[in-house]
């Protein structure tokens, strides 16, 4: 069985996500469930693969309105075309992963992540978190597992 991230690391990761959802797209999010979420309306899923002391993807599932909100803010475009939603979701996933990866470093994990990629199909297994927002739920699947070379010192 994979050695998934410990609860304190996950909680710190999610704290950063909440903070940067607020500052990046002006959205208040709270953790609603941890576990298997209900399927949601048409969404965009973006995965970024970690390597190093933790390995595997973090997958973000955003409602289109949230992805478009980032586009609206970055491009100062009041009514962005829906075709930009994928770019918005990809960049939002990139920003949130980048900022939340600081948590992994603070917990002693040396790791980096790759270029965002669109995820198609069933979500991977892992720690699945649903965040409730006024613009629809955001799902995060943390599939990263600690690699054998990491020895945590508490």
């Amino acid at each position: 069985m994979k050695d998934l991230l410990a609860p304190d690391v996950v909680n710190s990761f999610l704290d950063v996500v909440v903070r940067y959802l607020r500052s990046t797209v002006g959205i208040e999010a709270v953790v609603a469930t941890v576990g298997e979420p209900e399927p949601m309306e048409p969404t965009i899923a973006v995965a970024l693969d970690f390597k190093g002391d933790v390995r595997g993807p973090v997958t973000w599932v955003f409602p289109r309105p949230i992805a478009l909100e980032l586009v609206r803010r970055l491009m100062c475009e009041p009514d962005p075309s829906p075709e930009f939603a994928t770019d918005g979701a990809t960049e939002l996933a990139n920003i949130l992963t980048g900022r939340a990866s600081e948590v992994l470093e603070r917990h002693g994990f040396q790791c980096e992540f790759g270029v965002p990629r669109l995820h198609v199909g069933d979500l991977p297994t892992g720690i699945t978190v649903r965040m409730a927002t006024a613009n629809g739920p955001i799902d995060i699947v943390l599939s990263m597992a600690k690699t054998g070379r990491f020895k945590r010192v508490d």
Binding site: Y20, S23, T24, V25, G26, L70, V71, R72, R73, L74, M75, C76, P78, F84, D87, G88, T90, E91, N94, I95, L96, T97, G98, R99, S101, E102, E105, Q110, E112, F113, G114, V115
Partner: protein, 148 residues
């Protein structure tokens, strides 16, 4: 007649390139070129000789930290502003060793980003730039993207 200073933008996100282009123009630059990867950074730099290079780190192909080191090795006069969401110490160290002057963290506070670009502009006009740590420190992370 004054010639506006120029910049090139390397970022794989089209919406980030659009935002950075707007901020650079507000800071007084013209954007000479944009690209979605750093694979042709040297060629772009040698073609346009910009006063500033805005460079992301995590991109398809060559990563921005490696590209920054290569560019500065060939052109030590190149002024690079890293624009990234990645704030891990090792990447900052690679960029610092490469001689990168500024490290801007996404999401940007637009006013702060413009002020950094203007300071770079002043630097090219022989006014000293603040120390790297002034920009790579907590100030860089305090930015928010304001609402409409």
């Amino acid at each position: 007649m004054d010639i506006m200073p120029s910049a090139i933008i390397i970022d794989d996100s089209p919406i980030m390139r659009a935002q950075i282009a707007k901020l650079l123009e507000l800071a007084g630059f013209t954007v000479a070129a944009q690209a979605g990867s750093a694979d042709n950074l040297l060629e772009l730099y040698e073609q346009h000789r910009p006063e500033l290079v805005s460079l992301d780190i995590v991109m398809p192909g060559r990563d921005g930290a490696t590209a920054a080191a290569e560019l500065r090795q060939r052109h030590p006069e190149a002024i690079i502003v890293i624009c990234t969401s990645l704030n891990t110490r090792d990447k900052i160290d690679i960029c610092r060793r490469a001689g990168v002057k500024c490290y801007l963290l996404k999401p940007f506070n637009p006013d702060y980003a413009v002020s950094v670009f203007r300071r770079v502009l002043n630097y090219t006009r022989e006014i000293p730039l603040p120390k790297f740590d002034d920009i790579a420190g907590p100030a860089a992370g305090r930015g928010t993207v304001p609402g409409r």
